[in-house]
Symmetry: C2
Subunit: 407 residues, 2 copies
């Protein structure tokens, strides 16, 4: 396949496997303006699949930065209702939602972290009902990627054509081949078997250790469910929320996490890098945190609300995956989290506990799972990571050895 | 000035002279995604002028065409409330509104005209409150242009760099020089003197004749006001709604227009060309209409509602203006209407009659001025156009001779 054919295959994969779009279903797309030549391929794939209407919401990194830097704060924090309404209008018609990441990882470097955090919080509060809808799998959604020039230059600083290089990496990591949909069916089947094994074991806790100094015990709540790439809609259809995805994930028990964990890759939070950090947990709460890069930003993230100091996701990714075999850092969570075991600060997926989507927010923690305005993944996997599963009776089962599945 | 400097001067002109943006005022911009490198200059000019916040709404011509062609009609016509809300949110804070035209003039050629008209009507109905707000000059607004490749190729089919050629034409027509704001002050002064003379004359009617066959008498309502480029806000500030602008305009008396008028340039209506047409009027109403190009589209326009067969604007533009001296067709109303006398089908500006902005819609026609969901300019000026002003007492005063002001 040449690049155009591969881009079309990627577009088709996102519509047919990512969203599994149905005849008569609306679709919203959010994308950077740089993607103006690629998004029409996605729109065509959607109409080919029978989309009833497609609406694209564009964003412009440099203009967003200018506004975050220069707008009057009173107006910056007054998030309009239409930002939520434009998502709900289509979601309430059963619409699918496709989001392209790809902004410059350093887009917001140098801006006032406290002001950014006030903005992020205001926006998250406004969009909370839509975030809950997606985290409950009430509508099909997918996160994919478009390689903007600034992102590509960060990943391939010495390349002559960094965008081409990053396209190749995205297409490879996303398993885009001539029969991409078929290849993905097989991949999902493999991930599903891992999830089934973990669900059968129903461990009480996981114990992480590696040479970075990580020594962390993560309790798992009763009735936790390990999920793989496929999500199930209330009415029974399926979708794949991330492309690529290599993970099997569940929710930790919010107040039963103890020890210390070291990050293994930088995390890009709202256009600002946080790197080389450790978090110390006592009874689930982060009681100490220190980053060599972006420490102030890390502290702002932890201080978002009373749930942002607790974990909301445990995800297992073998060190030996197509993405990590590229041996590159994407500076983008969608890719980097699928190259390494990761955790997330903040809100847990209610779908990862039995009956979770029926619970009110106030009931979630009673059942062991955290809630927050944020959900921020960070990578902890290394080539020497060992994870033990601990059963109710205290017996120990190797889950990961040297960064890969033990069995 | 090199091109970048000229583009920055254009951006500054739109903010400082077009919108006359004030400290603490929000700004919305609508623009094609192709303008991604230029719009940041406008955003910077706005923040430099003290904008409280700038919000850009992007559009993508080819994706709009795909949706107008392929979306399910039920969804296409269900215009979301947020389309209005996103304008109102800022307008209600006193926000200014800047719109960049520049889509491919043939963007929608070949699509079903009736379906397009149903869409245009549904969208106009939803946006009617905002259209009224702008046509009553309640908020500062400006229409400017960005040269997309498809538009540039239509205007300069043989040029090696059509976008550069069209940039030059736009910047020249918009009187962008190193002291563009100063040049515009002088230009506005000249236009204002024309309007003052016409207001003093207070003609009862205008009589148009030329060699195309035009022989049209247009009644003017009692209390009509000739306006020039500058519009006045309710609280007293000013703005310039079009850049470029060469016109002096008022409202005709909706039911006192008789005779025939021939178009002198193509009209691009919603991405579809209408050309070489004539309209025959009896007591204000178009009773016969025929276009050699786009006749079906013309009929759909006339059939929009009961006001779209009546005129809502009479505008006088000398044949000898910077734009018409370029001797080129822009295939874009913003430029072509400022190269020739023009009329508009549909809604009249309530600001062009004494006390007009205080009137309810149902009262407008009693005072002589038309209302409709549409307002569509079309060009009738030629190098041999003569216009006579007819006073109440029947005496005749030459207004235009051979396409230019008679005095």
């Amino acid at each position: 396949m040449n690049r155009i054919e591969a881009q079309k295959a990627y577009a088709k994969l996102l519509i047919e496997m990512g969203l599994q779009l149905k005849e008569g279903q609306p679709l919203t797309i959010s994308a950077p303006v740089e993607a103006q030549d690629f998004i029409p391929m996605v729109v065509d794939a959607a109409y080919d699949a029978g989309a009833s209407i497609v609406q694209v919401f564009w964003r412009h990194g440099k203009i967003s930065r200018a506004t975050l830097e220069r707008a009057r704060e009173e107006d910056l924090l007054d998030i309009p209702d239409y930002v939520l309404d434009q998502e709900f209008f289509y979601a309430k018609k059963g619409g699918a939602s496709l989001h392209f990441t790809g902004d410059d990882p350093e887009l917001l470097t140098g801006l006032d972290p406290q002001r950014l955090q006030r903005y992020n919080k205001a926006r998250s509060e406004k969009l909370k009902p839509f975030m809950e809808m997606t985290m409950n799998d009430e509508v099909p959604w997918n996160v994919a990627a478009y390689p903007t020039l600034d992102w590509a230059k960060k990943v391939f600083p010495d390349a002559e054509n960094p965008v081409d290089e990053l396209w190749d990496a995205i297409l490879y990591a996303s398993r885009v081949t001539e029969d991409a949909v078929g290849a993905w069916r097989e991949h999902l089947e493999n991930l599903d078997q891992r999830a089934q094994w973990l669900n059968k074991e129903a461990f009480s806790a996981l114990h992480y250790t590696n040479s970075l100094g990580t020594d962390l015990t993560i309790g798992l709540p009763k009735g936790h469910i390990w999920a793989a790439a496929s999500s199930t809609l209330p009415e029974g259809g399926e979708f794949v929320a991330n492309i690529p995805t290599e993970e099997v994930f569940t929710s930790p028990e919010w107040n039963r996490i103890n020890g210390v964990v070291y990050s293994s890759m930088p995390l890009i939070y709202g256009g600002q890098p946080i790197d080389q950090f450790s978090l110390t947990f006592e009874d689930g709460k982060v009681v100490a945190a220190e980053a060599k890069v972006g420490n102030e930003i890390l502290q702002e993230l932890l201080n978002t609300d009373d749930g942002s100091r607790y974990l909301g996701e445990v995800a297992l990714v073998p060190y030996d995956s197509p993405i990590s075999n590229l041996k590159m850092l994407f500076y983008n969570t969608l890719f980097d989290e699928n190259a390494a075991c990761h955790l997330a600060l903040g809100k847990a997926y209610p779908t990862t506990i039995e009956g979770g989507t029926e619970l009110e927010e106030s009931q979630l923690r009673e059942h062991g799972i955290n809630h927050s305005l944020v959900h921020e993944d960070f990578m902890v996997g290394t080539s020497d990571l060992n994870i033990d599963g601990i059963r109710e009776d205290g017996s120990v089962v190797p889950v990961f050895r040297s960064g890969n599945w033990a069995q």
